[in-house]
Amino acid sequence: MNKEMYLVRRLVLIAICASIIIVGKLIFLSIPNVEVVTFFLIIFSLIFSVKEALAIAIIYTIVEIYMFSFSEQFYIWSLIVIATSLVKKIFKENFQLWAIYSGFFGLIFGTLSAIPFFLFYEYFAQNIPKETGRLTMLAYILKGLPFDAIHMVGNYFIMLLLGEYVYKLFKKLTKQFLLERGD
């Protein structure tokens, strides 16, 4: 297979992976704070390079904004990819650790979502008291704590129960797809 075909196949894989995340998001939409986006982003970050995994995260973010409107969570998916790429050499294929890592992101999800509020009020909103940003951020975090707890449990158990199996499956399928001879 020539280099161009190989690159095209990688591009197709990125698109397919983003689609998988979108479908996963839609399936769990009715269950609050249970999502597989974090799960798949971690898995794809383990299999692909940082650039490719970021491309998947960005495509997903764009589609999410299109489908559900812009939200304060827009940057979190890319952050998960970058953080995963940084720790994957330490955790390697230990899915107990990845489950804790995924649960941790679930727990701090509310805090990460609150940061844009703080930044907006602190630096962009005019004629608003300085402490509004900090108070808004704090109120947002505290109100969301029970949901973050549920998010943590959901993320942890999804990764613990499915992580290793899905990772090995995707790794095998990716390798097959990339090395398959085209006609």
């Binding site: 009715s30 609050p32 804790i100 109100k143 029970p146 707890a149 449990v153």
Partner: protein, 139 residues
């Protein structure tokens, strides 16, 4: 390996339950004890009707239930209001919203600001004004 997985899983569950329990306890402790006077306004179009009453309940949902002012349904997010007592007729009937049928829903304001939590998560304070406004509706 399996033993470690089980231990960590149990710890995660304990942590989650601990966070939820602490949150509920802090919320309840922020509620004022004793009797409080609150006003409930029901707004349907230009029609505004009010009722003021005293309650010693801590959370808004309990206080409204006590006065039989609301009809609710349960969801994964908690209880939500589907009917509010018709204060104009005052015959015990309810003004019901049906989002799926006609696109209407009850919007709740607490002291002129949109409610940020459900009725069972708001700890009432003396002097609170709770407004139920019927919104939406297919044209």
């Amino acid at each position: 390996m399996l033993k470690n997985k089980i231990i960590i899983s149990v710890l995660v569950l304990i942590l989650a339950v601990g966070i939820i329990v602490c949150y509920k306890m802090i919320q309840k402790s922020q509620g004022q004890k004793g009797w409080k006077e609150i006003t409930v306004e029901v707004v349907v179009g230009d029609d505004i009707n009010k009722i003021t009453f005293k309650t010693n309940k801590t959370m808004l949902g309990e206080a409204l239930d006590e006065q039989k002012l609301i009809k609710t349904m349960s969801s994964v997010y908690g209880r939500y209001v589907v009917g509010v007592k018709d204060l104009k007729k005052n015959d015990g009937s309810f003004i019901e919203a049906d989002f799926e049928k006609n696109g209407t829903f009850w919007f709740i304001y607490i002291n002129e600001a949109a409610a940020e939590v459900g009725i069972d998560d708001y700890a009432i304070k003396d002097g609170d004004v709770i407004r139920f406004e019927l919104q939406g509706g297919n044209e």
